[in-house]
Symmetry: C2
């Protein structure tokens, strides 16, 4: 970005901070300012340093530098410590230091590269890898969560009471937890466990492509209640403009919305639809059959959101990156789509394909299809979601792929009135 | 379809005819009925017998048979007459009759196959090919237009005054006519020239796949004004349920809406977006960049519709087959996408690729991009459609593909409030 454009953007962002909008009322108050600027800057920490965590850390660090009136430049990144042997063909390999396994956090800080999880991508030097989670989150007013979902709960237990009471958070963890008992959003788990507010980021994003600065978009949902511990007045107000200043890059376009549940749901439900799309390709029914499944999938995802979450908005699914765009990507080449396609083509159970193709990893879509079906069945609603129900029933052998058009046709009410 | 399901569907359709809904008020009146049924049935004619025309004729003929309480079984299909030499390896080839070129209409009626334009697909015997357009449309109360768009005007001139004054029509002609002076819908041209009402059918449909009964969906828009010559009372009411009975098949799912302009616009504007999506693939930016372009494309298509047509509805673009699904298909493998991709990969003008790949046929998207740009520019609105404008300006060499993310970012108001 040219200096003048960056300056123009900064002034826009700074301008926003003093604009009242209805959605900012909850946290807004007059900033104590000196010469038109808040006296303190936000300190950013990211919890997680895998593939996606490192790509997001890179973005955060680029933006804390670019917006140094709003953020302290240093971004602390918590690293789950492990020993790592730097390959001898790495450009920075020095036999005097790297001939034996080294701490990953130390390597990241030395080489400014996450050599294990995001190799080949230079990280800004203002990312500081920290193997201590308590040290990483200390004094951070903005917390970004980007860890595998099974660790969320334990990590929150570790840092509960050790973070700033007025910290605000964004979860980059994909999907939701679905069980017959209910649906739980990772952002809600984080917020509840830490007694803070946590929004959500989700979109048509693949870590490596984002890290390579290939163009994509994402959605960030942030809609804090009015009952939080206030952010002290000397900080810039934490609102949509501030989060956009922290996440938006020329190659990573951010759209800010309020619907946290809808933003999170798409990342889970799209995997079920991608299996349905893979079935169409497996049948050789062509791009139009697949587009039909995707269209119906968007509408069923929306119906699910509107039925079970008061705060869900129709347009999160039909217009946002976390909805329609993420679904498009998943149906174009994701693993759920691929395994479903191969399963139909070869006439073999998807579990066999999964074992062969995924090398020990598990398909998200088959599990989510089962969980969603059980959740819906427990509420007598399975028939109102004919596509997601058909996908599950085909996966367990109770229906056939060739009957999908009939199953969709017989289903009830695919088109609810949007709110 | 099983007999019992067919019967159930018929009774649903018949039931609908006597239900008042707000949208039917304009044309609704009490039918003169005998034993609960209208005394006369609709006669269906299709004007056009190309690839898509023949596939639609097959659907019509299947449904007039299945719904013989509503429609006369015979479907007249106007054939632009030509001589055709049946290949000697055709299964029905008989040297005593086929050793020389034969009239195409006679061949269709003899073989129940459009051997030239839809070879290999058996057509129902109740399709009657008719080389006389006046004879084909005579006494038809339902007219289906499915001809290349450049012939619409001339054909209307030929049959003007020779059709039933109370006929109703549906245009299956894809797209719209865009010029700096304005946008004209083919359905409007037909309606105006013939002094009847004409709706529109558009969706993610490829003629050959529909003919092979591969599953897909379509959208039919029908919203007649209250000022038409009334359909006589002894006919079944021409409403959404009737059109659905005529077009919906187990493999061809129909969604009925009211937004004729939106239904038609998608089929034209999607070609511009498909070029943008092809640019992304050409850059090797991955599925997420492409999904971002498609998402923005849906929103720009919608914005275009809402800005220039009072009757357009947001959901036609975000939810219907004629909108989001047709766009998905076009960006997956259509010719606009393919040529744009090759153009970027090979660093050569798209016109060169077009000549090589399309064998003399013209790309729709480059022409539409130019027409849309000129239309928008004439109204000072080009900047409000940054993606469509960028596509055109890249095509004419005024911008670069790699600047698309920047061009999108700088554009004004991508997200209008839907109506």
């Amino acid at each position: 970005m040219s200096t003048s454009r960056a300056a123009a953007r900064l002034s826009r962002v700074a301008g926003h901070i003093h604009i009242t909008s209805p959605i900012q009322n909850q946290t807004r108050r007059m900033s104590a300012v000196t010469n038109g600027r808040p006296q303190r800057r936000h300190k950013v920490a990211i919890i997680g340093s895998g593939n996606w965590g490192s790509a997001i850390a890179k973005i955060l660090a680029e933006n804390t530098t670019a917006n140094s009136d709003l953020f302290e430049p240093e971004v602390r990144m918590w690293v789950f410590e492990e020993d790592y042997q730097l390959p001898s063909d790495h450009a920075a390999y020095d036999p005097s230091r790297h001939s034996h396994p080294t701490k990953l956090s130390a390597l990241i800080n030395e080489l400014h590269e996450n050599v294990k999880y995001l190799p080949g991508i230079p990280l800004p030097p203002n990312i500081v890898a920290d193997p201590s989670i308590l040290s990483a989150v200390k004094d951070a007013s903005l917390l970004i969560f980007n860890v595998p979902h099974q660790f969320v709960s334990k990590i929150c237990d570790q840092i509960d009471g050790k973070i700033l009471p007025y910290a605000r958070a964004i979860s980059c963890i994909k999907g939701v937890d679905v069980s017959p008992a209910g649906i739980s959003l990772f952002s809600d788990v984080i917020g509840r466990k830490l007694s803070i507010y946590c929004g959500a980021l989700s979109g048509a994003n693949i870590a490596n492509e984002v890290a390579q600065e290939k163009f994509c978009e994402t959605t960030i949902a942030y809609d804090p209640p009015g009952t939080l511990t206030p952010v002290p007045e000397e900080f810039p107000v934490v609102n949509h403009a501030l989060w956009k200043a922290l996440f938006h890059r020329p190659y990573f376009h951010v759209s800010m919305i309020h619907d946290v549940a809808g933003t999170s749901l798409g990342g889970a439900l799209k995997n079920v639809i991608a299996i349905g799309a893979g079935f169409m390709d497996g049948m050789g029914w062509g791009d139009n059959a697949k587009a039909a499944i995707m269209r119906i999938g968007i509408l069923e995802m929306r119906k699910f959101g509107l039925m079970f979450f008061d705060t869900c908005r129709s347009e999160t699914f039909t217009e946002q990156s976390c909805g329609v765009a993420d679904l498009i990507t998943s149906c174009a080449g994701g693993r759920n789509h691929r395994c479903a396609k191969l399963s139909v083509e070869q006439g073999r159970p998807i579990e066999e394909i999964e074992r062969e193709v995924l090398n020990g990893q598990k398909l998200q879509g088959t599990l989510t299809a089962k969980e969603v079906y059980e959740f819906l069945s427990a509420r007598g609603k399975a028939e109102e979601f004919p596509l997601m129900t058909a996908v599950h029933r085909i996966l367990i052998g109770e229906e056939k792929v060739e009957d999908i058009p009939k199953l969709l046709h017989s289903g009830g009410g695919l088109l609810p009135s949007p709110k």
